[in-house]
């Protein structure tokens, strides 16, 4: 007992100083994190919260006396035929772009992954295939505006081949403009799919193909039962990311058709821009932006879920 007594007393005496140091020690990691956290708060949280608050108010930014408007801006946006047209156009634009990116990207990736071609040939094709991705979107827009001009190269080639009789108005015809801008977007975006899928293809162990070949499968069965399942996580991630990125495509539309003719290429991004910087209706622009944010968040949710499954 005599030995035990000082032992129990000792911790009591020494308890106070470690408590302070533990608190300080615990705060240190947050100190290290704070630059990032501050940046996130200032650059993301504050602007997003401001836009959301604008979407519930009227006369924002351009007037001092903004007032609470409830859901009025959302009602206005959701009943605006232009917004609904933009929503429909965006849906067509992003799904067709994504599907075509996937098919083209996978086709070219498989061509580049083949063992039938020499290393040099593959390197040359790799450079050729990736070229569209190296141009900035402004350059892409200018190039395609010139190519698709009624008296441009595309019409000249088609006319020379006898496929058309007179110049087609690719970007100026309300019936063709959406498909024309979708085509341009497909052209400029497939290389990123191709590169990611090529990396995925190169990661598939050869044993799987050999085992499948031993089982007597043909090329298509191996593609269906080995390649696709192995690439599934990459395909899902890329598809969802592509939908998100394409839904935010503004510059290409703005520089080729500006949303016209007759609103046939109006996207959610161009609609929002026009509301803000042409009509100075920052409240409805904010409401439209919040709706776009919600749509994107749904897509992001699927992306995160697919990542977690992995």
């Amino acid at each position: 007992m005599t030995l035990l007594a000082p032992k129990t007393a000792e911790p009591v005496e020494q308890a106070a100083p470690p408590k302070r140091s533990t608190l300080a020690r615990r705060l240190v990691p947050y100190g290290y994190l704070s630059p990032t956290l501050i940046l996130i708060v200032v650059l993301m949280v504050v602007p997003i919260v401001m836009v959301i608050s604008y979407s519930f108010r009227d006369n924002v930014i351009v007037q001092d006396n903004s007032v609470f408007a409830g859901l009025a801006n959302y009602t206005k946006v959701l009943t605006d035929p232009d917004f609904l047209a933009a929503l429909k156009n965006t849906a067509v634009f992003i799904t067709v772009s994504m599907a075509a990116h996937l098919v083209l990207g996978l086709t070219f990736a498989m061509m580049l992954n083949t063992q039938l071609l020499s290393g040099v040939t593959k390197a040359v094709f790799r450079i050729v295939y990736i070229l569209p991705w190296l141009f900035t979107i402004a350059v892409v827009a200018v190039i395609w505006r010139m190519l698709l001009d009624p008296s441009g190269v595309v019409n000249y080639v088609l006319h020379t081949l006898g496929l058309i009789n007179e110049g087609v108005n690719w970007l100026g015809d309300p019936g063709k403009a959406l498909w024309a801008v979708t085509f341009i977007n497909i052209w400029s975006g497939y290389p990123f799919f191709m590169i990611s899928l090529l990396a995925g293809l190169q990661g598939i162990p050869n044993d799987l193909y050999e085992a499948a070949a031993v089982d007597g499968t043909n090329w298509f069965q191996r593609f269906l039962h080995v390649t696709l399942p192995q690439l599934r996580p990459v395909i899902i991630s890329m598809a969802v990311l592509d939908l998100i990125w394409t839904s935010q495509q503004f510059a290409l539309i703005w520089m080729t058709t500006g949303g016209g003719p007759l609103n046939t290429t109006e996207m959610l991004s161009t609609y929002t821009y026009k509301q803000a910087f042409s009509e100075y209706e920052f409240a409805t622009a904010s409401a439209a932006a919040v709706l776009v944010l919600l749509i994107t968040m749904v897509l992001a949710f699927f992306y995160v879920r697919s990542q977690r499954e992995r």
């Binding site: 947050y30 001009d149 015809d173 042409s278």
Partner: protein
Amino acid sequence: MAVRASRLKRVLGAVTATTLLAFVAACGGGDSDASASGGDVTLEFAQWWGAELPAGEFDKIISDFTAQNPNIKIKLLSAPYASTKQQLVTGAASKTLPDVVGLDGAWVSDFAKQGAITDLSKLMTDANYDSSQLASQVQLKGKTYMIPVVNFIYPLFVNKDLLAKAGVAKTPTTRSEFLDAAKKISATGGDVKGWALPLDTAVPNGVQNDVMSWLWASGGSMLADGKPALQTPAVKSTVEFVKSLNDANVIAPGSLTMKEQDKVEKFTQGQVGMMIDSLAHINLIKKNKPDLKFEVAAIPAEDGYTGKRGIPYASWGIGISNSTKHKAEAWKFVSYLMSQQTNSKLSTIANGFPGNKTSEPDFSTSDPMFKTAFDIYKEGTVANEFVGLPKSEDLMRSFDEQLQLVLTGKSSVDDALAKAQENWSSVIE
């Protein structure tokens, strides 16, 4: 759970404290009035002019001013037109406009309503400035908010070779002569068309320059007592005239998404015989196609019209921020730019026409076409009814959309004008 909650609280507490500290540090650091130091004043001047003038020319004009006024420094914020506009829209919204701003007449109403630009009439009175020397002022409710420094008119450009090839001896002066010439040019074959009409909705200024110009050239108006008046016979005949050109297939294809630069390019390449365009593009056309034979003329008017012809114009306007602390110095700079000598010099290098009535551009070294254009300018009257209107770009766009419906056969002229009138009425109160 309790442990988690208290941990979360601690994290939130730490983050909030650090954020607050950062904000306090950011707000407290530095002098907010950084422009003033040691009695000198630095004025920021945002404009797109520097980007459009020959390199170094604008700097010379500015350095002459700073030499005369050693206590005032001018910091030029030069960017292309579209970037300047966006910078000013956001600056006006956040009340952080540069001290002196280059303005387009189309922005004035919105900026003035926001209280972003100051009333120049008061500054003129305070400085005992004689405003009678100014060719024009952009006013709202009797107060001047913008002064046009240099004006650029939009005459008719005619490709003389194409006109001769089509067998048209005389440059058209009436609408029917124009239609006839356009038909004959289009009949010469190939990709050649008589006229170009850029109706791209991203930058819908084709409505102002290429459509309403026909109305103003015949003395017509799209407004009555400041309110929209689009269902008048004058506007109707203008739209019907444009439709008749479209029906005759004399307009270059792709007009619904054509941009102004495409129009200029097509004219330069000899793909269209006539266009209405800014005089400022003469040098560009000559540079890109030195052997192109073309001339400028007044925009054709309605048959039988004998009155003064309105000529569309765009301006390099100037205004002063309402939030600047140096209004007197800013006005000093503005009055320097508007002085007879400086204004002559500036309009000469810009190939425009001076905003000071007493200034004369020097045509001795410029293209003879500028002299012709100056005569058209003096004979007619400048007209641009979009100047000073609220949300003018939006007005142009909604008119553009209705015009596109007419040209694609989806709407009648009357229905389109009624719809445009309705749209405009909701904007112009």
